[in-house]
């Protein structure tokens, strides 16, 4: 069968959602941010809630998220996205509000805003991209950098005694009563992508039902910061990040998952 006979509109099974703009993504080749953006927009698209969705972009690599996500968005100051989202949601309780934040933004400078928005049970969705490094500023140590991991500010590897421990903020947040749904996923394989998308769907459902805050961590790669090829970085992530940041549900329907 000729390829031309296959490539016809009626045979289309997958194309980029229209809720992603045509602006070329500013992310490095192979970076999981693009996939995470697209999944989020696919969910908004498929739920038919674009007219009622307001997103909040962070400071970090995804500071320009609003260049790519074709929905109403606000750019927050570094770490303050959960407070900005709180302000939006409190005034518009029937709108869907999400934040999209990296590990430096959410788990270092914005820890207070993150924990308090979660603890108040703000009825929002937080998408947390954890790649264990500050990508935007050129690969410095993040609160989530693994012990021994090399970054430009831990050039001989993270020494826990001197630099402190990596922060599992997702597990911490799961303890808070205002948080309804907490889960950790990845976007580097087709299977991981499908699971993440399901989780994002669930998070927006939780928001629709006004049950409290949903928190989705996506463990992702930073091949530039980690100084690896994209595919190699995904393998390194499986071997090193996943044992520490274990994938799976942490809290469902307000109940901690016992493993």
């Amino acid at each position: 069968m000729d390829i031309k006979e296959i490539i016809k509109p009626e045979n289309l099974v997958y194309k980029k959602t229209g809720l992603m703009t045509d602006n070329p993504l500013s992310y490095c080749p192979g970076c999981g941010h693009g996939t995470a953006h697209r999944l989020l927009m696919e969910v908004v698209d498929e739920l038919g809630i674009v007219e009622d969705t307001i997103g909040v972009a962070p400071v970090g690599c995804s500071v320009l998220a609003y260049d790519f996500m074709n929905v109403d968005m606000q750019g927050a100051a570094h770490g303050r996205a959960p407070a900005v989202a709180t302000g939006i949601k409190r005034c518009w309780p029937d709108k869907y509000v999400f934040t999209y934040q990296g590990d430096g933004d959410l788990a270092a400078i914005g820890t207070a805003e993150t924990i308090h928005a979660c603890n108040r049970g703000e009825n929002i969705t937080i998408i947390f991209i954890n790649n264990g490094i500050y990508g935007m500023t050129g690969g410095q140590m993040a609160p989530t950098t693994l012990p021994g991991m090399r970054t430009t500010t831990s050039p001989y590897g993270r020494e826990v005694e001197m630099m402190g421990n990596p922060l599992k903020i997702t597990e911490l947040i799961a303890q808070l009563p205002g948080v309804h749904y907490v889960t950790r996923h990845a976007v580097h394989t087709p299977r991981a992508v499908r699971k993440t998308k399901k989780a994002i769907f669930k998070a927006f459902e939780v928001q629709k039902e006004k049950k409290g805050l949903s928190f989705i961590e996506i463990v992702s790669n930073c091949n530039s910061g980690w100084k690896m090829e994209p595919v190699a970085s995904n393998i390194w992530m499986e071997d090193n990040m996943f044992p520490f940041y274990e994938l799976g549900d942490i809290k469902i329907d307000g109940q901690l998952v016992t493993k």
Binding site: A57, Y66, D72, Q74, G75, R80, A83, V84, I88, R90
Partner: protein, 355 residues
């Protein structure tokens, strides 16, 4: 007949915000302004008008909640006192950059640092000369009466939306804490219908809206700055507010705002009783500063005494306005000390009249 109430300044501004149809208040307790949120919580404006009230985890969070809510086109307010306002500076700069309307209230206390909880006016530089980073100006109203605390809430929202810019109501601990009678106005409607063309309310029947202060392209960022400066020039042209008391025949002039203006008014009466013709000029907007008006008066007086509860901050603007035409001196107390009218008169006599 209008309703009269005996109120604290902090209560008056809270009631003023409700009556002005405010949509939301986000704040964090700090002396000497905690009564603002206490009053709001007692009044349950969420039941009275649907106004949202939330106690945030910090001033940093409150200003960013303001940013988010203001970005959806809502009438939003916060209040704090000096150390808390310092924490908000980042957010204020972002709101100025993103052109978000809001009303900020600073019930100033003595500094620097944790300083004291007593009244002061030592945040003049911070408010009028920037505070946060970048080229922005903060439209600043300085109430001297509890009635103005009430009135300026509505005026603040009006100006904030007219120019899509943050507006500061810069009071001091004295105005915040003292009680006076207040004429209460009617309840204004909350924003149910408003211009949503720029606000992030969900992309419906239009292209998406983006609220941000970021533009990485320097040429576009410069254009944005030029636009902001043009707006500030419009504000300077149209929004200067001031009060003159007995300046017509004055040989000497007090320039003072807020509670210092009240003290100086008494000092003026004491001076006039002694035959010294003193007038009082009270800037109501600290930015834009009444430069032209002070320039004009400086041509016909022998000397100017600025009275501030600070080491002398506004005096710089008074000197610039009067172009060194006459002697300009400062008298002030610091660290939460409030000057007496007698001290002000004595300073006038010693510094300007010559003993």
């Amino acid at each position: 007949m209008k309703e009269l109430r005996l109120m604290k300044g902090n209560e008056a501004i809270a009631e003023g915000a409700i009556r002005a149809g405010a949509d939301a208040y986000f704040g964090y307790p700090i002396t000497p302004q905690s009564e603002v949120m206490e009053y709001l919580m007692m009044e349950k404006p969420h039941e009275r008008t649907g106004m949202v009230i939330l106690q945030a985890e910090s001033e940093v969070a409150s200003i960013n909640m303001l940013y988010g809510a203001a970005g959806t086109g809502k009438r939003v307010m916060t209040s704090s006192s000096s150390p808390g306002i310092s924490l908000m500076q980042e957010g204020i700069s972002y709101m100025a950059g993103a052109e978000l309307p809001c009303v900020l209230v600073n019930v100033v206390r003595g500094g620097p640092g944790l300083g004291t909880i007593q009244p002061s006016q030592s945040d003049y530089f911070q408010t009028t000369k920037g505070g946060g980073h970048g080229d922005y100006r903060l439209l600043t109203l300085a109430p001297a009466y509890v009635q103005e605390m009430y009135d300026f809430a509505a005026l603040g929202f009006e100006l904030a939306f007219k120019y899509r810019t943050p507006v500061m109501i810069q009071a001091d601990g004295l105005i915040g804490q003292m009680m006076e009678k207040v004429e209460i106005g009617d309840q204004a409607a909350r924003f149910t219908e408003f211009d949503q063309s720029w606000a992030t309310t969900g992309k419906k029947g239009r292209e998406r809206n983006i609220i941000t202060s970021l533009d990485l392209d320097p040429a576009r960022q410069e254009q944005h700055n030029i636009h902001l400066q043009a707006k500030y020039a419009d504000i300077v042209k149209a929004e200067v507010r001031f009060e003159e008391i007995q300046t017509e025949d004055a040989e000497y002039l007090f320039v003072a705002y807020g509670s210092s203006a009240r003290i100086s008014q008494k000092a003026m009466q004491l001076a006039r009783a002694k035959g010294i013709k003193v007038g009082l000029f009270r800037p109501i907007t600290l930015w834009p500063f009444p430069t032209e008006q002070i320039d004009a008066i400086s041509k016909r007086v022998k000397g100017i005494l600025t009275v501030e509860q600070s080491a002398g901050q506004m005096i710089e603007d008074v000197k610039l306005a009067s172009q060194c035409r006459v002697q300009v001196e400062h008298f002030g107390r610091m660290g939460g000390m409030v000057p007496s009218p007698e001290e002000v008169l004595e300073a006038l006599e010693q510094k300007l009249i010559g003993g």
